[in-house]
Symmetry: C2
Subunit: 337 residues, 2 copies
DNA sequence: TTGTACGCGTTATCAC
DNA sequence: GTGATAACGCGTACAA
């Protein structure tokens, strides 16, 4: 039972207790050099007995690592990113690293400022979750700091990108609807400034064309990944009187909004219109009816990103890859009657 | 246009450029002492010209502040806490502070360990969002560090507690159902290890008794704040064959699960059973039907907690208070027919 | 293999 | 008011 909060045990005190020099203790801590077995055990014993914990702040100043890594994300309080953050936190925590979360608010300038703050705090690495910062700017950052990005494919030294196949996901969702006999499939887009949103839409269009259907712009309505934008999109769609039998929302949140709009107009899902989303949020299982959607592993994404960062930090080359998209059939779709 | 990432401008360089001593620059930065106007402007000019940014790490080591504050929360990826984290981040960011988020995983021991890590990182303060750590342990922490807690009422030096009236919220929700004529109101509890869960339940019971009803233990089913626990609670309730016309779930997530269970049994909300939740998550507006619930301001909670921390840090005595609970009537409740 | 001395960038404590 | 000087706790050349 080590003393829980005894007044600061320093490396120097450990050195004194073990009758060695501070550098030797440091070496053992960092594995910087080989030390003889007897001194090593003496030091380790002293560390345990005194309950020594290295000070990350001092470590950072001394040019070493801060054991903290910065995470910039689009949002903090969105279900998808929440899951990713949890994955990052757990994976990083396992290795003794602490995450520094900041949200870019979907704003490239703000994002750049956040990255600046993070660097000033000397994070050992940077994980950018679907950020909006430009590729070249990111590449520049990566020159002085290991970087892991998601949501884009990018090659650069010291940078690893983890890419989820949003195109394929969009294709799968649309294909599911097609296979059910739907021919007039509406699409609610995500924020067009994000690559993932564009990719999902491309997938939608590709599936349509593969089925020999002509793409109808009247069936595409803009959204912005929020529930309310999904609701409004459907209202607009309905008001336009363009006929359709199914809706593919570019994310689950918009699908939920869409479901409500349909409900308000006394349209039944899936009886009157089939509905599919994208992301497979936990709440997709509990919506009424449970939502058919593309599985997008948020938690796993966070875990893998953090794992890749840890590998980068260790001088290894990450090999992690995201699983391929799968479509989850629940109860929001039905074959056209 | 300041050089974006010019190689480290230090305080010492600023001092040289302004022809003053480092101490003077430091004094101006921290407002530690009065300096003459001319030197002050010279320094400010140099700071701006060189684009100097103080190094938080060095600051921390020097015994000063790290400008970072630790946040321990129950979970990272729950809608309610997500909102709170956003509030904390924004309010803190405004003042130049960075949040260090960690989740306690609803485990007191893990929480204590997290707090230890946070302290080793020299956070300037600690915000505990509905944590499970004991009051005395928390009081001890508060002796060396400003602390803001939510979810409990606690008086101690250097500690400020922000309390939401969960009892009143529980009472309000139950009262709403009562006023609609319901007499057999089931209650799905939260995790009994949390004070908020117990308070909500006490509110439920108080409202019942105020209405002259006898409390029926058969109508109380345990949950754990997750959607699935709400679903299972309702199934258990239905299987018990205890009659009821309304359900009060101790949080919205469980209400969503409850709604699904009801749906599966072909019971209509609010036609067959009225349903109310607690928290007023963003998704409550978009559930089908939209959920009547107790408004629990997550974002505001985070903001206020962060604001109180900032005041504590400034040596002031926080005065922030959470608004009183309000019940939001939507479409999941109906008077008994 | 191990110890010494210095530096990281800033604040605090003294003198002036 | 202002400027030296000493920490803060650790990593790391360099020397031994």
């Amino acid at each position: 039972m080590a003393p829980p909060e005894a007044g600061k045990v320093t490396l120097e005190m450990v050195a004194a207790a073990a009758a060695v020099s501070p550098s030797t203790v440091s070496r053992i801590l960092n594995g910087t050099a080989v030390v003889s077995g007897d001194k090593r055990s003496a030091v380790e014993e002293a560390i345990a007995r005194l309950g020594f914990v290295p000070d990350p702040v001092a470590r950072g100043l001394a040019g070493g690592r801060t054991l903290s890594i910065g995470i910039v994300t689009r949002t903090l309080d969105t279900p998808f990113f929440g899951g990713a953050l949890r994955g990052v936190e757990e994976e990083l925590g396992r290795a003794g690293y602490s995450p520094l979360f900041v949200s870019g608010h979907g704003n490239a300038a703000h994002e750049a400022r956040c990255i600046g703050t993070l660097r000033s705090r000397r994070v050992d690495g940077l994980i950018v979750l679907d950020g909006r910062i430009g590729d070249t700017a990111l590449g520049a950052v990566a020159q002085g700091l290991p970087v892991v990005v998601t949501g884009r494919t990018l090659k650069a030294p010291g940078l690893y990108s983890l890419h989820f196949d949003n195109f394929e996901g969009g294709r799968l969702a649309t294909h599911h609807l097609l296979s059910l006999g739907h021919r007039r499939i509406a699409f609610i887009t995500g924020d067009a400034r994000h690559a993932d949103a564009k990719d999902r839409q491309r997938g939608y269009r590709a599936a349509l064309e593969a089925a020999g259907l002509v793409f109808d712009p009247a069936l595409v309505v803009p959204g912005s990944y929020t529930e309310d934008s999904g609701r409004m999109a459907v209202e607009r769609l309905l008001d336009s009187r363009a006929p359709f039998s199914a809706i593919f929302a570019a994310n689950d949140q918009m699908a939920f909004g869409a479901a409500l709009a349909l409900h308000r107009r006394h349209l039944h899902v899936p009886g009157d219109v089939s509905l599919v989303g994208f992301d497979d949020l936990q709440s997709a299982v509990f919506s009424i009816p449970p939502l058919s959607t593309v599985h997008h592993p948020a938690y796993e994404l966070g875990q893998l990103a953090a794992g890749a960062m840890l590998q980068l930090l260790a001088g290894e080359t990450p090999t992690a890859r995201l699983p391929v998209p799968r479509f989850i059939v629940r109860e929001s779709t039905r074959s056209v009657g």
